[in-house]
């Protein structure tokens, strides 16, 4: 177990380093730099050049990267080229909304998808199975922003029940702000997860040990909860970790539509203003989070079904 953890940690460090280089190169490939983004029609080329020098953007790319990387190793994410403040401040200011959004979605997705998955799996190809499958597949086929626009048009603008954006609102005083964004994020994730749980349930139900247990007269309820669910949950938990990317993509769209000041919004702003340290810092935090989630998922799977091979 220890050597496994060590290998995982070493792999993670390499992954993070490669990712940082990739992000740096990709942002460098975008047209223009942060000094260009401050361009106004009254700034002279000399003043732009002066700004560029002040921001350190006239130094070689390799030097800028190693400087940034050295700072990160000491725990310093650097300074925003646009606001002039610490990148950490931007991370802190934007992480809350995204975290609340993601956790609220997960808190609903997980029990809902597991319940639906078992329901469908135990009634394989029955009417209920086919109905739920059709609905969840249809929902996952509709792009997030279409669902969002329709929900906003209906519940906010037509009926006036729910706020259409986070503009001028605060989650503390108005938790109802979460309803529509979470509803949009549910669409695809519920489908993906419940399909996995369904498949896992069906597999488990057909497995020899379940057939045997049934023959021995184990009550159905006990059979499902004690023997089928843990095995059925394995693909679900692994899928849940993979859902991370899907959810992040969804959060990006949802934050844009509902004007939510979260991680994705900060990232988009960072890219648009060529604020390289901010983009680097945000992706690094996201990558660490993704790695932790995947590690967590593997460990959970190991707990659920100890025979799962950890190193594949």
């Amino acid at each position: 177990m220890r050597s496994y953890a060590g290998q995982r940690a070493a792999l993670a460090v390499v992954q993070l380093a490669v990712l940082s280089i990739l992000v740096f190169v990709l942002t460098a490939l975008l047209p223009g730099d942060a000094a260009d983004m401050r361009f106004t029609e009254t700034l002279t080329p000399e003043q732009i050049a002066q700004l560029r020098a002040q921001l350190g953007l006239d130094r070689p790319a390799l030097e800028r990267f190693t400087h940034w990387f050295g700072n990160v190793l000491t725990g310093d994410l650097g300074t925003s080229l646009i606001s002039g403040g610490p990148v950490l401040d931007i991370v802190k200011a934007s992480v809350g909304a995204t975290l609340v959004l993601t956790l609220a979605t997960l808190a609903i997705v997980v029990p809902l998808a597991v319940a639906l998955g078992i329901l469908m799996g135990t009634r394989e190809n029955g009417r209920l199975d086919r109905t739920i499958t059709s609905i969840t597949l249809a929902l996952s086929a509709i792009p997030d922003f279409v669902i969002a626009v329709v929900l906003v048009a209906l519940f906010s603008l037509k009926l006036g029940w729910l706020p259409a954006t986070w503009v001028g609102g605060s989650l503390l005083t108005n938790p109802v702000l979460l309803v529509l964004p979470v509803a949009v994020l549910l669409g695809r994730t519920v489908c993906l997860l419940s399909r996995q749980v369904r498949a896992g349930t069906i597999n488990a139900l057909h497995a020899d040990y379940v057939v045997q247990a049934r023959r021995l007269g184990v009550p159905r309820r006990r059979l499902l909860l004690r023997h089928v669910l843990p095995n059925a949950a394995v693909p679900g938990v692994q899928e849940l970790a993979r859902t991370g990317d899907t959810l992040l993509g969804g959060v990006l769209v949802v934050e844009a539509i509902f004007a939510i000041p979260g991680f994705a919004t900060a990232l988009v702003d960072g890219v648009e203003t060529r604020d390289v340290p901010v983009v680097q810092g945000l992706t690094l935090v996201l990558a660490v989070a993704a790695l932790l989630i995947n590690l967590g998922a593997d460990l959970v799977c190991n707990r659920l079904v100890p025979r799962t091979e950890l190193l594949r």
């Binding site: 047209p31 223009g32 260009d36 983004m37 401050r38 361009f39 106004t40 029609e41 009254t42 700034l43 002279t44 080329p45 003043q47 002066q50 700004l51 002040q54 925003s80 646009i82 606001s83 403040g85 931007i90 200011a93 922003f145 279409v146 626009v149 329709v150 906003v152 048009a153 906010s156 603008l157 037509k158 006036g160 706020p163 259409a164 954006t165 503009v167 001028g168 609102g169 769209v253 844009a256 539509i257 509902f258 004007a259 000041p261 919004t265 900060a266 988009v268 702003d269 960072g270 648009e272 203003t273 060529r274 604020d275 901010v278």
Partner: protein, 512 residues
């Protein structure tokens, strides 16, 4: 000016379509406003955001949202009227010497939020702070470069004498430019803004919000609103927030939104007719536009009315190849240029351009750029010249246009005509996208600017603009309306071009 406006354009379109599918949503019973302004309440105004780019420092700004925030708390010596003519603000009057090189400004009896009276010293400190060469992003630096700070002085606490290195009869208008606010003497920490404006600072989060409260000792009469929030959001979120009742004022709205809003009862559109400018710009030193005949031919090929109808959905005014229609010094007596296909063909034939291909360089950095270029390409094609549309990066377009593309797309907000010429049409102008560099034009403009007699100055400017219209590289085809959406209960919002006194001004606004 507002770079954030167009991002996520696809989502914006989707949002717009979603809105367009709806009709008005249940009136809240607000009838025609009572004539009596009421005090109290909170107004939430939403502007295009700029994320971490948003600043509290009133001397560093370029976004509408920054301008609105600073305007709530700070004031300038001079402001601009609806025709972009200087109006007294913190300076109640001014007097130049005979050469327009030394100006005396008399200050109003105004009070800062910390209780201190406005003095000449505050003015001198503010101007020196703007001019600080170590901080190039203080935006008014180049426009106020002619100030000779060492010779500027306080005559008494309420009179200040400003001396210029070169005479300039337009100097008051320069003091009304972006980023010219008067701050307290010794102002260093932008996170603690203290101004003379109608609202006092409460809180600020870049990319999100600013909250300010009414300042009771405001010299121009305390505001009606108790609290003002200035928030940031993209176009589709602004539309949703306004229609969904989460905001009472939304800046810079589209024609699509206006059409939807006008069908309902909850939202009103306040439009400043033809307040901004859209144009195609030809580089007069690059083939084929180094030939004046080709420039004239392209001007004659633009079907301006159709461009306005299609690209602006009719919410605009046709242009006459000049910036600033309706503004002070605009030569309204020049005849409207009309489309003339035959004459254009003859000129193109003479220039040997028939059946050749020309590239127009555009981007979706501003709503309507690509659409206008595409439609114009059709209009040019009819004369036998192929105009090919190429699209560049939206975020760097303004800068790229300086060097790229023999012909491109151009927009401008509202500003005084002499300022437009100074920034864009002189040999040394930083944003001379038409490469119009004519020593004779520079000299004539300089000699006009020193004339203290306004009529004589206007006549000179008129001649210069006629030259530009006939020989220059600007095909100003239209002047889009500047539109603001307000909820039905909001009263006292004036239709005003951006960057003028009454635009994004909330001290006279009240809620019915």
């Amino acid at each position: 000016m507002s770079e954030a406006l167009n991002r996520r354009g696809f989502l914006g379109l989707a949002g717009g379509l979603g809105l367009a599918a709806l009709t008005g949503c249940g009136s809240d019973g607000a009838s025609n406003a009572a004539a009596q302004p009421k005090a109290g309440g909170r107004l939430r105004a939403v502007f295009a955001g700029g994320g971490a780019k948003e600043v509290l420092d009133p001397h560093v700004q370029s976004l509408f949202v920054d301008i609105a925030r600073h305007k709530a708390m700070f004031e300038k010596l001079v402001e601009l009227g609806p025709d972009l003519k200087p109006l007294p603000r913190l300076a109640e009057k001014w007097e130049p010497n005979a050469q327009a090189s030394t100006w005396r400004f008399t200050l109003r009896d105004a009070t800062f939020h910390d209780g201190q009276k406005l003095t000449s010293q505050d003015v001198l400190y503010s101007l020196a702070r703007i001019a600080d060469p170590a901080v190039p992003d203080r935006v008014a630096q180049s426009s106020l470069a002619s100030l000779d700070l060492r010779r500027c002085k306080a005559i008494d606490p309420r009179t200040v004498e400003l001396v210029l290195t070169a005479p300039n009869a337009e100097f008051p208008a320069l003091l009304a430019g972006i980023g010219t606010h008067i701050v307290r003497d010794g102002f260093k920490d932008p996170t603690k803004p203290i101004g003379t404006g109608a609202f006092k600072f409460v809180s600020f989060e870049a990319g999100r919000s600013m909250v300010a409260n009414r300042f009771d000792d405001y010299w121009d009469g305390a505001a009606k609103l108790e609290e003002l929030q200035i928030l940031s959001a993209d176009a589709e979120a602004r539309a949703n927030a306004l229609q969904g009742g989460q905001a009472e004022y939304a800046n810079e709205m589209t024609a699509t939104f206006a059409r939807t809003a006008e069908a309902g009862k909850t939202v009103k559109i306040v439009a400043a007719k033809g307040a901004t400018t859209q144009a195609f710009v030809m580089k007069v030193d690059q083939a084929p536009f180094d030939n004046p005949d080709v420039r004239m031919a392209f001007k004659l090929l633009a079907d301006r009315q159709r461009l306005v109808d299609v690209v602006l959905a009719g919410r605009g005014v046709v242009g006459n190849d000049l910036f600033g229609k309706g503004f002070q010094y605009y030569p309204a007596d020049l005849p409207q240029r009309e489309r003339n296909l035959e004459e254009a063909k003859a000129l193109l034939k003479k220039a040997g351009l028939l059946n050749k291909e020309v590239e127009i360089f555009t981007s979706d950095s501003t709503a309507g750029f690509v659409e206008a270029a595409t439609l114009f390409a059709e209009q040019v094609n009819e004369a036998g010249v192929k105009l090919k549309v190429t699209t560049g990066s939206a975020q760097t377009y303004a800068k790229d246009l300086l060097t790229k593309g023999a012909i491109g797309s151009h927009r401008s907000g509202a500003m005084p005509i002499p300022q437009y010429i100074t920034d864009r049409l002189l040999t040394k102008s930083p944003f001379n996208v038409t490469h119009w560099r004519q020593p004779a034009f520079d000299a004539a403009f300089a000699s006009a600017q020193v004339l203290t007699d306004e009529t004589a100055r206007a006549a000179k400017y008129g001649e210069l603009q006629k030259t530009l219209r006939d020989q220059g590289g600007i095909i100003a085809w239209g002047h889009p309306d500047f539109m603001v959406g307000v909820s039905a209960k909001v009263q006292g919002v004036e239709a005003a071009p951006p960057n003028t006194l009454d635009s994004a001004r909330f001290d006279k606004v009240w809620l019915a």
